[in-house]
Structures are given as C-alpha cells and as structure tokens.
C-alpha cells in the first residue's frame, strides 16, 4: 500500500526553497565575512539537506524507527567529526607557553605538521638541511 502521498505542489515548493538557498549561499560566498563564511555556508547546507531528507526522502512521514535510523547517521557522523576535531583543537592547550596567562584563549589553531615550516624558507630542495629549526624534515 502506498505510504503518505504528498501533493505535487509540496515537491515544487521544496525545490523552490532549495533554489533560493542555493542562490543565497553563492551570493554570501562572494563577500568576505572572515570566519563567518564557513558557519553560514554550512548552516545553509544543513538546512537544504534537512529539506531533502524530510520531504524528498519522506523521513517526515516515516515510522519512528526509520526516523531513529536517520538520526543515527548524523549521530555517528557528529562523533566522527566532533571528537576528532576536539582532539586536534585542544592539542596546544597544556603546552601553551603563556601557561595560565593564556587562560582566556581556550581554543588554539591546530598546528600543521612540521612540513609547513620548510616552505617558509626559500628553498627546500637545494640547500640540504642547513637552517631548519628543530629538525623539520622536507617531505612532499
């Protein structure tokens, strides 16, 4: 038996909303909002994905168990992304030279691997390993 039958007009409105959000996200991306560009773009993408999941994928009209499965996908995804990023973001905390003085700054930029330091110098192929501080090894 057919499940919930949504009216065609609903699908067209959802499509319209998705188009508006697409235009919005492209428009926002042409302006430099600094650190805000990322959360705005992700926020719009999550909204779009939610519309697709709820209406195109019929999650809104599904059984509770199906909804739980849908939620599970994003629960595990947030563990994957969230826990890994907290690890990387917190790596500088205890060793921060300012010690307690830096208490206001709880979040530090994660440090890239040592490779980057090599590129700040002029050449990493020619001069053997002359001026590297602390043994950054040239890779890539």
């Amino acid at each position: 038996m057919a499940g919930h039958l949504a009216p065609k007009s609903l699908y067209y409105s959802i499509f319209g909303a998705l188009m508006v959000l697409t235009i919005a996200t492209v428009e926002v991306a042409t302006h430099n909002f600094g650190a805000l560009n990322f959360p705005v773009a992700i926020g719009i993408a999550i909204t779009k994905a939610t519309l697709v999941i709820l209406f195109f994928m019929h999650a809104k009209y599904s059984s509770k168990l199906t909804k739980l499965f849908v939620g599970t996908a994003f629960f595990f995804l947030s563990i994957l992304l969230g826990l890994t990023m907290t690890d990387y973001f917190s790596r500088g905390l205890d060793t921060y030279p300012g010690g307690a003085g830096g208490a206001g700054y709880s979040v530090r930029q994660p440090r890239p691997p040592a490779v980057l330091k090599v590129d700040e110098g002029e050449s990493h192929e020619g001069g053997a390993e002359g001026k590297s501080e602390g043994g950054a090894e040239p890779a890539h």
Partner: protein, 232 residues
C-alpha cells in the same frame, strides 16, 4: 507475474490471497516495505560515514592550511559548480515526482520522470567532465605534472587531491545511481510496479537523494567557503 492491472487503484479485493510481490517471511506489504526502508537507511548510514571520513580530512587540512584552501577553491569554476548544483537538485525533484507517480500507479509518469532524472544526472556528469578537463590543462591535477604558483603549492596539491577524491567518489555514486535508475525505469516500463508495491522505485530514490545531499555539502565546502578569502 501477471501484472495486468497495474493501474488499478484501490480496491484489490484483498491481501486475503497474497500479493505476488509479498515475500513469505513478511506478514504484510507494509511490514515488507518498512523492512526495506530500514535496510536502505542502514546502508545510507554506512555511506554517510564513508564520505564522513573524507569530510573530516577536508576539515582538518582546511584549518591547517587556510591560505592554500582559499587559493585552491578560487581556482574552481563557480559558474559550472552552481549550474551543477541546480541540475542535481532538479534531478532530486524529478526523482521525488517519479516516486510519487509510482505511488499513484502512473506507469508512464514513473518512466518519464525516471528518464528525466537520468538525463539531469548525465548533464551533471558532462559538466563535471569539462571541469575536470580544465583542471588537467591547468596542471591542477595532483601528481608529477602538478604546478601551482606561489609558496603554497604543496598544500594546494593536498586541496586538489581531496577535491578529486571527493568529487570523484561522488561522481562514481552518480554513475551507480544512473545504472540503478535505468533498471528501475525498465521495470517500470514493463509494468512491474503498482501502488501496492513500488519499493525499488522508492529505495533507489533514497539513494539518489543521498547522492544529492553529498553534493549539497561538497559544493559550499569546495567551491564557496574560502573563495572570498584569497588575498588580493
């Protein structure tokens, strides 16, 4: 299977004698449909985590090398990316309408919407081909021929590695979806579906929409977020 009465609405006298598409280990078609939906979502959970690993790599390298991310994403063709986003969301609309046609027992409608969905998918892949070709001519493909001006070349190469890996994996999913839909369209054409049983249409729809959602995240992350951060 004698599926003569494909367009018959409503009053099949019964689930009393059993529907030809009801498998014996299920009590009802509803239960069978529910099991299929759960199974499909279980598969999609693994797909979310499959792509999730790549998104994680992307996010980590992005905070490590913000300049390289800005320079790399500035090289992508925003117009083609936007057109492709519209095309792919459009194909999700036609897919949703194909499922709706199957729900209402419109055989012709189902086939037409499915073919439209496949055509839009094809347009997406053709545009992607031109984008890739552009990257090859500009030496932006990671490997021994990679070339990029400025001090961040090695890091921009990481950006392009992730770009090709993520969009390539996405395009592979599109190709699989295309194959899936061609089978479903053929089955619909043969009159295999009815308002009582259209599970394959709906399941391949879930897959297609999932692939659309992956692109909904790939597009802003690869093309948009760092675009405005290029100095100068």
């Amino acid at each position: 299977m004698a599926e003569a009465a494909v367009t018959a609405h409503g009053d099949h006298g019964a689930h009393a004698h059993h529907h030809p598409d009801l498998q014996h280990h299920f009590d009802t078609l509803e239960q069978q449909h529910e099991a299929a939906t759960l199974g499909m979502w279980m598969f999609l959970i693994t797909e979310v985590l499959f792509f999730g690993g790549l998104f994680l790599a992307y996010m980590l390298y992005r905070v490590w090398y913000p300049e390289a991310w800005a320079e790399g994403s500035y090289q992508l063709n925003l117009t083609l990316g936007t057109v492709n986003t519209v095309v792919l969301i459009g194909s999700s609309l036609t897919m949703a309408l194909a499922v709706r046609s199957a729900q209402t027992g419109l055989r012709r409608g189902t086939v037409v919407w499915l073919i439209l969905t496949m055509l839009l998918g094809l347009v997406f892949l053709i545009i992607k081909y031109f984008e890739y070709a552009e990257k090859f001519t500009h030496h932006h493909v990671p490997g021994s021929n990679f070339a990029f001006p400025g001090p961040h070349a090695p890091q921009v190469q990481i950006y392009f590695s992730l770009y090709f890996l993520m969009t390539g994996l996405h395009a592979t999913h599109m190709l699989i979806g295309f194959g899936l839909l061609s089978v479903i369209a053929w089955m619909a054409h043969r009159g295999r579906f009815s308002p009582e049983w259209y599970t394959p249409v709906e399941m391949s729809g879930l897959y297609w929409h999932f692939v659309d959602i992956v692109w909904i995240f790939l597009f802003p992350l690869l093309y948009l977020v760092d675009r405005a951060h290029v100095p100068g």
